[in-house]
């Protein structure tokens, strides 16, 4: 092997890497908020009895779950500007694409947890004479949201990982910066390993939280 490993040079670049990480986190955070709101709305649409609302939301969810995120991103980056006739920055197209992705997977999570609430609870609400708004706001939703938390958290980890794709449309996130430095310095092994490590130290604690929540907390509080 002729390649000598030298991790020390990485310290020269820590500021740029940090900047890239910030971009990744910003995109993730923004899409998380927008995606959760969208996902919640869509999950309500998917339990609707109106056929049109149901079909539109179902097609959206299935389509976004059934195609690669990369092509969704490319479609929005390359095609949306042509259709709208205006320029869209790569930040906006990244946010639109990842929000739609997060919305689709989270709506499934919300739906599953809405459906997991026992039918008896609805019956009990009727027996207690609660109107449907009170029933939804004070009985069904609080439980459904609590049950959805672990899966939503693991969706967030997926979103964070998928955010690496925005490098493919030239956004200078952690992945993009890492790849750039690795080709400039011709030291891909150290650089890419370091980038992977940074992703890991953020995603790993989150997945730990997921298993912790699944294991204990939720059962204690909600079920």
């Amino acid at each position: 092997m002729t390649y000598t490993i030298d991790f020390l040079f990485l310290f020269e670049y820590w500021e740029v890497l940090l900047e890239g990480l910030m971009t990744s986190l910003q995109v993730t955070g923004l899409c998380l908020l927008l995606g959760l709101a969208l996902g919640f709305l869509v999950s309500l649409m998917r339990v609707s009895s109106n056929k049109l609302i149901y079909s539109v939301s179902t097609v959206y969810v299935e389509f976004f779950r059934g195609t690669p995120v990369l092509i969704q991103l490319f479609w929005i980056f390359f095609c949306l500007p042509l259709i709208l006739g205006t320029e869209i920055s790569n930040f906006s197209s990244a946010v639109i694409a990842l929000t739609l992705y997060m919305g689709a997977i989270s709506s499934e999570t919300f739906r599953a947890s809405l459906l997991s609430i026992d039918k008896d609870q609805s019956d009990a609400c009727v027996a207690l004479g609660l109107d449907s708004l009170t029933k939804i706001m004070h009985v069904i939703l609080p439980q459904a949201i609590l049950r959805a938390v672990p899966t939503l958290l693991s969706n967030t980890v997926s979103l964070f990982k998928e955010s690496a794709l925005v490098s493919a449309v030239g956004m200078s996130d952690l992945m993009y910066i890492g790849q750039n430095i690795s080709s400039v310095t011709a030291k891909p092994v150290e650089m890419l390993t370091a980038v992977a490590f940074i992703y890991f130290i953020i995603a790993f604690p989150l997945t730990r939280c997921v298993s912790l929540l699944e294991g204990k907390l939720i059962h204690k509080i909600a079920i």
Binding site: I71, L82, K161, A164, V195, T207
Partner: protein
Amino acid sequence: MNYEIDFFYVLKGIDQLLEGLLVTVQLTLTSVVIGVIGGFLVCLMAMSQSRLIRLPTMAFIEVFRCTPALIQIVWIFYCVPMLFNVFLDPFVMGVLALSLNLIAFNAEAYRAAIQAIPKAHLDASIALGLTPLQTNLYVVLPQAIRLGMPVLVTNAISIFQQSALVAIVAIEDLMYMGKLLSTETYRPIETFTFVALMYFAIALPVMLLSSRLEKRYKTANS
């Protein structure tokens, strides 16, 4: 909008896209086969009594689950040849990256499934005098596959979608061919829409199958 939709060029390039689709399907199927078998082995290793086996295996699983698939693919493409001085065919590298990722996710699926197997079955195996190998092969594996099936299918669908990432390291899969065609023809809307529909047409039947499996599994359990 002065962009006129015209699918003519896409249809002219359909051969190219089908070639790409073939590569995508081959990549996916090979990785799924390796992932289903390797995932079970890795799962057994992660549940091993010996720390020396368990800890590195768990580290492997966590690293592959907690980093973006894109960086795994790029890492393997750039670093494996440099570190080990081996130059593999790009397709083989793609399979390597995707199957390592799938193995990690499937191992978790198997683990959840195995934990759902009643302890009494293992006691029964000991009582019947089965060797550990026999127990794993005839008692644990069949149930793990059956219980884990819905998640294994979901993982297979997501590896099918992640396979599009290999386009970034220039493996000529469907995504790569689509990107190429859209630049050649200046027809991004038609090409990308068509390519997305091709992915969807393959994923949809499998997704429907998986939700049916899940329903059957639920009714069988209740």
